[in-house]
Symmetry: C2
């Protein structure tokens, strides 16, 4: 086939960078810690990972991560490796072991973070990618332009199915486009999935019958596979238009299986993203990971939001969102929607739009909607108006002169 | 039910530890960043996570992980939280989102590492645990006492199916108990799974017909679910006695599905363990994670080895191995076998045995066996003899006086 997989890392090493790069390439392909007679030059040429690029960035006097191999100088580099597809075939689970396996444990490594991933077309042939993406989501949600204005059921857990439906009733009446379950709320005895779906969809369907607009509700069906399939079927049967899964709970394998079964868009939550990304010297940027999730079938991907309440910096949020909006590979776009959340209000609309250049996204706010003194309808109107202003290039304060709900929102948003 | 889930963390915070603990408990249950009228005291008492224990360990002047919330003093604590099972039910995927979800991203957190996990009996009722464990593995491998002496096919990738079988032939003739595929080698075009299994099992079965001893080969079937099932069926049909999966590739959901389908022990590889554990201030100890993997069905769990070639310290290796040998919960032992690997020889036998007090384990060596000047049979004999000595309390050098293969091994092991 001749196809190769390329992964790029930020690498820190206390040793010689070129040697460290070769150790990493060896460990992740045909090599091991000791020289093997069976690793012939022919075999290495055929199956060995290749160091494509190694560029020194800077040095430090202390290691970012502990290693028994102590040094006085730690060199940080950009390292690009490539692998022949023949080593593994277009298989996402084995791809994970190849690009994100033992290498993170090596002694020569005192920092390793995956920055980028380029996959050959055979992956797109093996994995269908999102079934709905931007266009399918817009169609089902009845939102042709601008972001889907959304919110999250709160409290995260503890509401009964009926209480959840009551909250949905208020949101639907308020003109919301999109509602999601919390990532903690799947099928607990306090709020059984089936009961919740039936109660919520009764509200959503009644409103759709009246208004012609069906609010998209992402029901969190995270769980074991047979249960996810059964839960999906219930959502579909009740007329629902979206399901939600926690990526780090169901894994690449689980998401792919859900995608094979699903007739609805898959809203993908990143709960656990912190343990994969919080150390700048370890783990992953979201750009490479989200490609894998999209190949496995994610239609919507969480990216936090600008000035969010968590620790993720704005530049990381925007890089993630841009990655989600970019093609998975030149041969297969597999469009998906970034989902902005956490401490969001209309105040982030202009900056978010300016950074992305488009509004193919879901913008969810909790307090930014519920906190509006005139209630949920005014909160939804204000957030939507902010996006109108952003997309029209009108300053928020000026637009507020024409939209009283926005003017009032600007007094409590901060 | 009244059951609660308990998780313990090492926590570092730049703020007041009691406040940080409450923020974490809130984020992972009924709370959010803003006060909600709907989060009533009754709801919080029913669904809220509880701070069970908060003990200050020490303080530092700089944060372990970056946070926009800057402080002059960072307090490190032991934090134990508990959740009512009613929030989620006995569901491993939602458990992950609950105990290892958003909390790692909080601003108040500048370090968070999971140290312990105590699960209530309903999890053991919902998940069967390993089907074979120690006893089933010993029976299938024909090893009643002492460790299974094992090795890994090397080069990791690049050998053809026939070349792999040729290496297996040498190992089987040398008296090995256990052989595993590399985590990079599943079903790549260079060495297709089916061809490899057929070629290897021909060798293994022929030897078993002659000697009555069938070497256990852990075939790496990591991949998408339908392919894993089909590959398992082939291994079973060919008379194989073990399959291997990469945990971080197939996830808890994939492992559970494999367990439901499998009629063979599941050898669980931790590739990627580094990105979950390498920063001391982030991620996981193995003790809590391995409980989840065992509930999902892992029979054998990798733990590195003493004085391994990777960066994991010995105390972490031994803590992991002890955890794998301990019951998952008082009500359900779910015994599994720790697998020692990486830079292993007979020199680690005494220390490993002394630290564990038992030999219900798999000890794999590569160079420690292949490097023996008298060949593979002598390498296997020497490693096995080291364990005899360890279990009998005889010093290695003294035992070597009676075992020439060991005496010779002691001249090249280091």
């Amino acid at each position: 086939m001749g196809e190769r997989i390329h992964a790029t890392y930020w690498l820190e090493t206390g040793g010689n960078p070129a040697q460290a790069a070769e150790v990493i390439a060896g460990e992740q392909s045909s090599g091991t810690f000791v020289a093997l007679a069976t690793e012939t030059p022919e075999l290495k040429a055929r199956a060995g990972a290749r160091v494509e690029r190694l560029e020194v960035i800077d040095t430090a006097s202390a290691p970012s991560l502990p290693s028994p191999k102590v040094s006085t100088r730690y060199t940080r580099c950009t390292l690009e490796l490539s692998w022949p597809i023949e080593n593994l075939g277009p298989c996402l689970p084995t791809l994970m072991a190849t690009i994100a396996g033992n290498l993170y444990e090596l002694r020569a490594v005192t920092g390793l973070r995956m920055l980028d991933l380029q996959l050959p077309p055979s992956f797109a042939a093996a994995y269908p990618g999102p079934a709905f993406g931007v266009e399918g989501t817009r169609r089902l949600a009845g939102v042709a332009h601008g972001p889907l204005i959304g919110t999250i059921i709160k409290p995260s857990v503890g509401l009964s199915a009926q209480e959840t439906a009551q909250q949905v009733r208020e949101l639907v009446a308020g003109g919301i486009d999109f509602i999601k379950d919390d990532e903690l709320q799947s099928d607990g005895p306090n709020c059984p999935f089936d009961e919740r779906v039936r109660a919520v969809m009764r509200v959503v369907n009644e409103a759709a019958d009246r208004s012609g607009k069906k609010v998209m509700v992402a029901f969190n069906l995270t769980g074991d596979l047979d249960k996810m399939r059964r839960r999906h079927d219930l959502v579909l049967a009740e007329g629902g238009t979206c399901v939600m899964a926690c990526l780090n709970s169901v894994g690449v394998l689980g998401l792919h299986e859900l995608r094979r079964h699903s007739q609805l868009p898959i809203h993908a939550h990143r709960a656990g993203w912190g343990y994969l990304s919080r150390s700048p010297a370890l783990g992953f940027d979201f750009a490479p990971l989200q490609k894998i999730w999209r190949l496995a079938g994610a239609d919507h991907l969480h990216v936090n939001g600008l000035r969010n309440k968590f620790s993720e910096p704005d530049e990381s949020v925007i890089a993630a969102a841009r990655a989600v909006l970019a093609p998975v590979m030149p041969e297969a776009a597999m469009p998906a929607m970034p989902v902005f959340s956490s401490g969001q209000t209309g105040l982030q609309a202009h900056d978010t739009y300016a950074a992305l250049g488009c509004a193919d996204l879901i913008h969810t706010a909790g307090g930014g909607i519920f906190g509006h003194p005139k209630g949920v309808p005014a909160g939804v109107e204000a957030l939507r108006a902010s996006w109108h202003a952003a997309m029209e290039g009108v300053p928020l304060a000026r637009h507020a002169e024409r939209v009283p709900a926005l003017a009032e929102a600007l007094r409590f948003w901060r």
